[in-house]
Amino acid sequence: MSNAVEYSEGTSPLHRANPVSKVFLAICICVSTFLAQGYPMLLGLLAFTVGMSFLGGVGRRTLKLLAGLLAVSAVMFLIQTAISRQGQIVFLWVTDHGASVAAHAGIRLLTFALPLMVMLWVTRPTDLANAFVEVLHVPYKYAFTITTALRFVPIFSEEMDQIVEAQTARGVEYDSGNIFHRFRLMMPLMVPLLISSVSKADDTALAAEERGFYLRTRESSYKRYPMRALDLAIMGVGVALVVLGVLF
């Protein structure tokens, strides 16, 4: 079962930390990625993220995702070299300036995507929602929307898999031709998926309402989400990373 956003059970410090501080750290890494100019800092941020994922017990999953993202990152690199053409040509159409811009973009793509994913893997969606409601006073309605969207990711991806299987068994040739050809074949299937997702979302709304959705307040959650020393430390690290990003 390939579920991109599924929570991995664990007891690491990252699992125990408050979801708010985890999100803060992830955002800090992203911000720092944008601010940082030098390769050492960019690669350092990447290494920090990977190291952090090992601390959270999701290291292998991260490396797998990183391998997948490298392909996307390589495409990004090629596109960027084609767009930025200032400077000396060093290879075919690639210029020295273009290569540098493209390399930055490629690495940034990795350091931008990874931290948020790692954060999701070590945080239960419900905890994320509850902590945002309790600590940041986010209205529950919005928090619920986000957790529900996360919950629907695996359900819809499975639904899509089964639709593709059913069509393949019928003889639709998803197993041949290039990616654009396959994409064109997939388009008509979006309609059934959309219809089933709208009715599913409506049913979930009803199920939630029938279990007191509108009665929920900031005090409802059985679990509490205090900010501890660990969380202050994590947020401190986040601020430090942003500062480093500005400097390097």
Partner: protein, 586 residues
């Protein structure tokens, strides 16, 4: 007994509908019209009826979703635990009435069992100090303490149903309304869900209202039954009272348990009193034994024998020591060896997770064997693309919606042929004849049709290709009796024309009626491969595969042992009745 304290006297019905009508905003006809129903405190009410009868609408009225969530025109008075549902909020109704929706994935709000359990408790303001006890009690009552820390996505269908029930139970409602809780479950899990409901009803005093298609199972558990058709209540009474109207029910498109058909037919021949309705095998054995008396010994009756010639010729499908395992998750299979010939319908039975669906995917080429070979019409599947295999193999999936993708029924059916390279005009012509044979509306959008009709559209788009091998994965789940018979009649016609059919099915009555051979699977292996009568006569085998024989097979076996050997091996209601008459006439 929590929740048992009703207002004075306590004989006031806990649910009461008076002249209730409801028309959905987008609907033309009322889904319920002038509906009256009283449900006493502590009842276990089963709701049955054909598709489109208004069962789900009734559940929505009882749980307050109508008029609060679904939009439309509501008339009449619905009283729930003393509240008029129009005058209070949905949340107030929900404190008293817990409801489990048909789509169990949508019913789950959290991705983790613990959070799912906590959700209602937190929202309804149960004091935090009480929560651990409540949670523990609900899990223990339903028998799923071990699931507390699991992710919902890793649970089986039966486990999800139980989590949903436990999450509602924790709120301590007085009434529980469930919409087809066993639709996606195998027989063993279905029974287990009903055992849980019985416990809640008897031990905790909770009033249970359950919509169900499996009439035989339902009649064993419920105290009363309500039969709906076209938005109104046709019958309401004990299962015995309701099933005494077997003929009328059949006309409405509602099945009766097979043993009930036996007793009803005996009654029609004047052999038993008309009010003697059997609901389970035990009762039917007693009734037949009494009718036959001591005339059972040493008598042979000429029975209608199955006049099918054994299938001959080369097999269309050949599995030779096939093995397949997923990297993770999914049911692996090991050492599968069997053949399917032209004109055979092979039923594949076994528990969920036994490897049945994996086997069907190995046939239609969605999976390739990692060990051994699969040959379709003499060619190995490993050397062909799935789209090439599709020329010989057609599959009807459990959920028709995954198969449908076109704007009209005709296009949908013709599309199957176009995919195989048939010219557009020829495809349309052939599609048109199939569409008219199933009496489907050519220009209707498939998604605007009912669930049963969509299944028939999917079937039509499978039949039109005239495949050598037809694979059916739970072809009758979610269909009512009439739709089920329509689908199976078409399948049987395909088989008689020479198609080799492989059918995965949990409904043992359907299997017993239509299969010419059975393959029994458990833990990814084939336990047995043989004639239905032999398989269903082997109790030890069935126990190992966690399936139970259909009622008629159970009945004939008991009767052969206890009353007369003449009953041995009978698989049809008609034959049981004929043998009984023959013996009684002596």
């Amino acid at each position: 007994m929590p929740a048992a304290a009703t207002s004075a006297g306590g004989d006031e019905p806990v649910l009461s509908l008076r002249d209730v009508s409801f028309t959905y905003l987008e609907g033309e006809k009322p889904a319920l019209s002038h509906f009256d129903l009283q449900v006493p405190q502590g009842d276990f009410l089963g709701i049955i009826g054909p598709s489109g009868a208004g069962k789900t609408t009734l559940a929505a009225v009882l749980s307050g979703a109508i008029p609060h969530h679904y939009r439309g025109t509501f008339q009449g008075v619905a009283m729930v635990c003393g509240m008029d549902t129009v005058e209070v909020e949905l949340t107030d109704v929900s404190r008293a009435v817990g409801s489990v929706l048909q789509d169990i994935d949508a019913q789950m709000i959290s991705s983790n069992v613990e959070d799912e359990m906590l959700y209602g408790l937190e929202n309804f303001g149960v004091p935090h100090a009480e929560i651990p006890d409540r949670l523990e009690w609900a899990l223990r009552t339903v028998g799923i303490q071990d699931l507390l820390h699991r992710e919902v996505s890793t649970l089986s269908g039966g486990q999800k149903q139980k989590v949903a029930i436990a999450a509602i139970l924790a709120i301590r409602p007085r009434v529980m309304v469930l919409d087809e809780p066993t639709a996606a479950l195998d027989p063993a899990s279905s029974r287990s869900v009903f055992e849980t409901l019985r416990l809640l009803n008897e031990e905790e005093g909770i009033t249970v209202v359950v919509i169900e298609q499996k009439v035989a199972l339902l009649s064993e558990y419920c105290r009363h039954m309500a039969v709906l058709a076209e938005g109104s209540l046709r019958f309401h009474g004990t299962p015995r009272e309701v099933f005494a109207h077997g003929e009328e029910l059949r006309a409405l498109g509602v099945d009766s348990p097979r043993v009930t058909r036996v007793s009803n037919q005996l009654a029609r021949y004047g052999l038993t009193p008309t009010n003697e309705v059997c609901l389970n095998v035990e009762e039917a054995v007693e009734t037949v034994a009494r009718v036959v008396g001591d005339r059972g010994a040493g008598f042979e009756v000429a029975r209608r024998t199955v006049s099918e010639e054994p299938p001959v010729g080369r097999p269309v499908l050949n599995f030779d020591h096939v093995g397949f395992s997923y990297g993770m998750g999914g049911a692996s299979v090991e050492d599968l060896t069997f053949q399917v010939r032209h004109g055979e319908l092979v039923g594949v039975i076994g528990q969920n997770g036994a490897g049945k669906t994996t086997t069907t995917k190995l046939i239609n080429g969605l999976l390739r064997p990692s060990r051994g070979t699969v040959e379709v019409c003499g060619e190995k599947t490993t050397s062909q693309r799935t789209s090439q295999i599709a020329r010989h193999v057609s599959t009807l999936f459990q959920d028709p919606d995954r198969q449908l993708c076109k704007n009209t029924v005709l296009e949908e059916v013709a599309f199957s042929l176009q995919l195989l390279g048939v010219a557009d005009d020829v495809a349309t012509e052939r599609a048109r004849s199939v569409v008219s044979r199933f009496a489907l509306p050519e220009d209707a959008a498939p998604f605007s049709l009912s669930r049963g009709q969509r299944q028939i559209v999917a079937l039509a788009s499978v039949v039109v290709t005239e495949p050598d091998v037809l694979v059916l994965d739970e072809p009758t789940s979610g269909l009512d009796y009439r739709e089920c018979m329509e689908v199976m009649a078409a399948v049987d016609e395909m088989r008689r024309k020479g198609c080799g059919v492989v059918m995965v099915c949990h409904d043992m009555e359907v299997v017993s009626d239509f299969a010419s051979r059975l393959i029994v699977m458990a833990n990814g292996r084939i336990l047995a491969d043989g004639a239905p009568a032999d398989v269903f006569g082997d109790e030890e085998l069935l126990a190992r595969a966690y399936v139970s024989a259909p009622q008629v097979a159970q009945l004939s076996k008991r009767l052969a042992d206890e009353v007369s050997p003449a009953f041995g091996g009978i698989t049809e209601v008609h034959d049981i009745v004929e043998v009984t008459r023959g013996l009684a006439r002596q």
